[in-house]
Structures are given as structure tokens and as C-alpha cells.
Amino acid sequence: MATQKTPEQTLPQTPHEMIDATVYVLMPALSPEMKSGKLAKWLKREGDRVEAGEILAEIETDKATMEVEAAESGVLLRILAPEGAENIAVNTSIAVIAPGDLSASSSLALCTQAADDAPGEEEEFLPRITVREALREALAEEMRRDANVFVLGEEVGDSQGAFRITQGLLQEFGARRVVDSPISEHAFAGLGVGAAMAGLRPVIEFMSFNFAMQAMDHIVNSAAKTLYMSGGALNIPIVFRGPNGSRARVGAQHAQDFSAWFAHIPGLKVVAPYTAADAKGLLKAAIRDPNPVIFLEHEKLYGQSFPAPREKDHLVEIGAANIFRAGRDITFIAFSHGVGLALKAAERLSEEGIEAEVIDLRTLRPLDMKTILGSVAKTGRCVIVEEGWPQGGIGAEISARLMEEAFDDLDAPVARVTGRDVPMPYAANLEKRALPTEADIVAAARKALYLKA
């Protein structure tokens, strides 16, 4: 079967929700032996209207060719595997369809957005995967590896996940290990902690970390503190994961960055990856970790694709930042979606001969101060990027630590580029201004470099 259908959805409301309601077209297998194939030809283009049963593409192996049909009518939102791409593994997503009757303008907006979300997509085709696929692979691999691992959350099973992270898991692992919960964040977070006390390895999905506020008590009072309160007798190996941070046009209660809240709590580890490879490697590490781990994903990253990790069992150490781009003049520190902004800002400054070093924190607790201090010792200047609010934020913490531990290395005050100190507005123009931008980072960098704006 070439296309996996998602269950009935209510009509999508916003471009992002439309992406959520998408159907992935998967690389089909011509035979049970087939492991991978070539995408010979696309018969449809991004933005095209497709009808159920219509041929989308042709694939081939050294033995045969086959046509891929659309199982759903809608708009071909995005082509993930370009024409001519070879060695595409069976069941890899090759395209995205937005089902239903989308107007031409909204489908165009979706395609534009998809393109915006994926910088550098024009590059030569390498094995690439989206953050969504990376997370799914991590879950599936760890569930295969350890029978104690189970996934529980709202719509993770029958509905295949509100953001499709758990797509296919129910089919492979069954309802015992892919558990649809009621909308009871407080108690199902507690249930997860209790299951971890008994030695299982729960992965609790919050449909959004906004809803984790209901579960804060169990995250902080039960998960984070039990090891300490028991004098080391009882550990809680649990992962709480889900999207955190901004989301387009959903207003104040559904678009907030809680990174700093969780990073404040001793007894938790807090992870917020940017790339697909890090998402995969860190999620696998989080599931294997004997401590409670808060795993902060970002909705705007789910559909972005990155080079796939090469190793079969790809693990990334929790607590280790990554120097994403080397530079001598200024250090940008970012995490999650902010890394993309920092990289774009660095590219822009590079055109003027200013080379920014971009650190992807990847883990927010424990902070990799060694990498941060090493970079700032070299550059003497630092801009910290986050979507969260400024007061008591990740930037505030790093800034204080730099003042305490690297005062003599600094050639300029540490700068923060943060979300605006307001609840997230709904209006498009205000929302845009409430979030950090590439231009904000460039401006902060110029100021730290004592250059004219």
C-alpha cells in the first residue's frame, strides 16, 4: 500500500493545522524483499490538486517499476523525495498531501510555507529525514529494543498522533504499548510517573506543552523530586515530550515557550533539539536515561528535513551542545527553532565579513557551559536567542553565568533576543513582532560589535 490514510479530521483552520492534518505518501514496496528504490518520476507538482486514485509518481527498482497513487483527494503539499532520488528506504515519506478542498490561495500559502520551513532544500539530494520522521524512528527503535517502553497520550494511537509523530506505532506495537489517554493531563502525567516507579519506561506525549501546565505538579513534585526525597532509593525513568513554543495564529494559550520553566527544576533533564538527527539521537538517549527528561519539540520544525543520521543506532549525549557553525567574531547561542534563525542571521552577517559562531544548546538542563565558555573566550561577544519571555529566561541564566564565569572574556554586554514580554497576540502582524527574528539577531550582533545598525 503506497499511501497511509489518516483518520477523519475536522476541517483545518490554519496553515499549520493544515499541515497537521496531512497524509504522508510513503515509499511503497514492490515485493516483500524490496528494501529501497528510486523515485523515477513525479507526475504531479507541489501545489497540484490530486484526486484519490490519481497517479502521483513512478518508482523503480532494478527489477520493476510501479506507480504510486494518491489514496486521498487534496493538494500535493510537498514533495520530500525529488525526482531521480535513489536508495529511498521503503516506508520513507516521499510526499505530503493536504486532504480536502483547499482553495488555490491557501494551498499556495502552504507550499510557500513548506519551502520557507526548509532552507537549503535545493541542495543535491542526500538521505534526509524530517524531524517528525526522526522522532517516529526514535520511538519505534526504542520500543523494539526495550519492552518496557510505552507511549501514552492524547490521540497517539487510533488517530496516529495529533502531529503524526506516533504514526504507525499502534499498528506495529498494539494498543497495550501505544495508549490513547483521556484528556486528563494531570492524572496521566501522574500515571506515567507511577508506571516509571514500577520500572516501566513511559514516554508521555503532551499534545502541546501548553497542556502540560495541568501536569506541572506531577512533573515537578513527583517526577523531579522523588530520587532526592527517597535518598536515592527510587528513580523515575520517564520522558515527557511534545511540541513547545510558538505556533502560527493560535493565540496566547497555545503558543508559549516553557523551556525556562522546566530548566529551572533540579531533578529534570531538559532537551530541545533543532535538527532531525539530534531529535532522534536525543529522544533515544532520553528514553534510555534513568532520570525524568523533558523533551521539547517544536511544531515549526516537524516538517523540516535535515541530513539523516548515518549510524543505525544513533544516540546523542544529553548535556552536550553542538557548535553548528564555527566563527571568530561573535557567539550566537540558540536552541530548537531559534537555531534556524541564528544560522540565517549568521549567513547574512557573513556577507559583511562578520563570522558568527552558532551554538545549538540541544540540552537546556544540564547546560553545557564548557562549550559556551570556550566559544565566548574566543569571540568575546554573545547573543542568546529564545522564543520565551525575557525575565528569568534561558538567556537570562546564560547571561548571568557568563558574567560570573567569563567576565574578563567579554568585550561587550551579553545580548538577549527573546520573545516579547507579552502573552502571544493573535493578529498576524502583532504575532510576528512578538517573536524573535533573524533581523533582531543581526541587530543585536551589530550592537555587540559596536557597529552601526
Partner: protein
């Protein structure tokens, strides 16, 4: 690490076995008496300033945990609130380590880092000891979830009070426990101290009704009544019948915590008369049926006092935690 747990139960849960004895009336009497005397001693140590902060005594409610412990299998898990010294003893935790935790000493069950409200004995299948009212219901459902996940036939016995019954997560937990038929028994210790509670018999037994969770109101001052109802509910859970609620009508003789003068209790003297002390009640039964004589009961009391005295002695002299312990056990 909890070097603390200086004497883990030798081979299986020997201390639990000793606590329950043969499960006969005299053994049960002794078990309840141990909890009573232990709590009285804790009250004294609190008065002497050796125990700080909160100290929630179980005096008056002993029949509940002893009855449930008799009804359960050794491998069934217990989880409770901050009013849990009785649960700890009934699960086989070392009285010395429990008392030393209350005095904040290195030899405490949590190495002095948990305090009266936060003690855990996973080696005895006791999972705390939770300071947030109602937390143990969802956590207990998680233990039961693990039992169902593994299909190992274990049951979780989850204790909370009439106050906690009003917490929102109780309803959320009931829904999940019923939906997944989790092997759990919710024991509501209704000591009728909750402001706003109706006090009407059975009102908490019906709390699960909307979720099709059966409930019973039990005389929580009768260890036999608790044991019988507990056995039925545990068997139901073990055989896949799902959760039940047992509302235990009980009396807490002391304030909410020792910081609470319990002035509101005075007008309830008449109530106390209707619900005779569970230990006295059993004592009378033992004597009138000739199961033991006064002399034996005196010797038992002396034996219990000696265990408690030893615990208090240990708790008073165990050293405070090392300064370096401050930073350990945050993460593994």
C-alpha cells in the same frame, strides 16, 4: 545513596512477616499496637523538637492499613499520602529508619532528605509517602498500569483521605482506572475531618459510581471488616474486574498534623463513642474469647514499646547527613 536503609528486610520481606505474624487476632492486635505506640512516640519526639515541620499521625486509623495488609499479597504495592507512618510499618519498613527520617538523620529511610511526608521503600513494594494531596491516586494508577502491562497479577492498594477525594485528579484517575480496568483498590480513609464534607455515610463510596467503579462503606474501626472488604476488592482487581472504592469510616484522634491543635475535634467526642477504638475493641474480643490473657497482652505491649523505644533511640542518635549529601541524588 540511601545508606540509610541500614537494615533492609532480610530475605524476602521478613519484617513484614514478623509484623503480621500468623494473621491471628493476637498478631493483629500487636501490629496495630506497634503503629499506635510508634505514633505516640513520634508525637513525643515532635514535642521535644526532635521532629520538625509536619508530622501527621495515624492514631485511630490503624485498623485500615493492618486490615488491608492482611488482605493483600506480599508483592502487592501500597501507596499513600503524607499520613503514612502506619503504611510504612505495615509494609515492613524498618521502624528505626522511619523514625530517623522524621528526625532528619543520616540513618533515615530517605537518608534524611525526605522527612516525615516523603519516605519510600520500594524493596517492600511501598511507593510513598506523597506530600501533595491526591497525588498518590494517579501515581498508584501508574503502578497498577504497570501490573496490567506486565500481566503479573499484582494489585495496587492506594490510600487517600476524604480531603483528597475532592481533588480533581481523583476523578481523572477514576476514569482511567475504570476505562483500562486497572488492578487497583482505592481506600478512602474517611476520618471526616474534611471541611465541607457531608459526613453522610456512603457519600465517598459513591464517588466512583459515575465511572462504574463499585464502592462500599466499611467500618474502618474494625480490622476484620476492613480485611474482608479489602480481600474482596483486591480479588476483584486481581481477576481483571477493575478498580473499586472502599470508604473506610474512621476516626483520627489527633489533629491534621501536630501543628494543628484540632480544636474542631472536641465537639466530636460523642462521635468517638460511637466508633470504639479499634485496638481496644480487638483487645476486648481477645480477652473475652480467651485468645490471650492480660499477662500476654502486657508482654506484647512491652515488646512493642521496646521496638519503638529502640527506634526513638536510633532516631535521636543517628548522625545528621553529611554536608556532601546535599548535592547527591538529584540525578542518577
Amino acid at each position: 545513596m540511601a545508606a540509610a536503609n541500614l537494615a533492609p528486610p532480610e530475605g524476602g520481606n521478613a519484617r513484614l512477616a514478623a509484623f503480621l505474624g500468623d494473621g491471628d487476632d493476637v498478631s493483629i492486635y500487636r501490629a496495630m499496637l506497634l503503629i499506635r505506640r510508634f505514633e505516640e512516640k513520634a508525637g513525643q519526639l515532635f514535642g521535644m523538637g526532635l521532629i520538625g515541620g509536619f508530622c501527621h499521625l495515624y492514631i485511630g486509623q490503624e485498623a485500615i492499613v493492618v486490615g488491608m495488609r492482611l488482605a493483600a499479597r506480599e508483592s502487592d504495592q501500597f501507596i499513600a499520602s503524607y499520613r503514612h507512618h502506619g503504611q510504612l510499618l505495615a509494609c515492613g519498613a524498618d521502624p528505626r529508619a522511619v523514625m530517623a527520617e522524621m528526625t532528619g538523620r543520616r540513618g533515615g529511610l530517605s537518608a534524611g532528605k525526605g522527612g516525615s511526608m516523603h519516605m519510600f521503600a520500594p524493596e517492600c513494594d511501598y511507593y510513598g509517602g506523597h506530600g501533595i494531596v491526591g497525588a498518590q491516586a494517579s501515581l498508584g494508577a501508574g503502578l497498577a498500569f504497570a501490573n496490567a502491562y506486565r500481566g503479573d497479577g499484582r494489585v495496587c492498594v492506594c490510600f487517600f483521605g476524604d480531603g483528597a477525594a475532592d481533588q480533581g485528579q481523583i476523578a481523572e484517575t477514576f476514569q482511567m482506572a475504570a476505562h483500562w480496568r486497572l488492578p487497583i483498590v482505592f481506600v478512602i480513609e474517611n476520618n471526616r475531618a474534611q471541611p465541607g464534607g457531608t459526613g453522610e455515610p456512603g457519600y465517598l463510596a459513591r464517588r466512583g459510581a459515575a465511572f462504574d467503579i463499585p464502592g462500599e462503606t466499611i467500618d474502618g474501626m474494625s480490622v476484620e471488616a476492613v480485611r474482608e472488604a479489602g480481600a474482596r476488592a483486591i480479588e476483584r482487581a486481581r481477576s481483571g474486574g477493575g478498580p473499586s472504592v472502599l470508604e473506610m469510616r474512621t476516626e483520627r484522634y489527633r489533629g491534621h498534623s501536630l501543628a494543628d491543635p484540632a480544636k474542631y475535634r472536641r465537639k466530636d467526642e460523642a462521635r468517638a463513642a460511637q466508633a470504639p477504638d479499634p485496638i481496644e475493641r480487638l483487645r476486648e474480643k481477645i480477652l473475652s474469647n480467651g485468645l490471650a490473657d492480660e499477662d500476654l497482652l502486657k508482654r506484647l505491649d512491652a515488646q512493642v514499646r521496646s521496638i519503638v523505644g529502640e527506634a526513638a533511640e536510633y532516631a535521636s542518635h543517628s548522625p545528621e547527613p553529611n554536608a556532601a549529601d546535599l548535592d547527591t541524588d538529584v540525578l542518577i
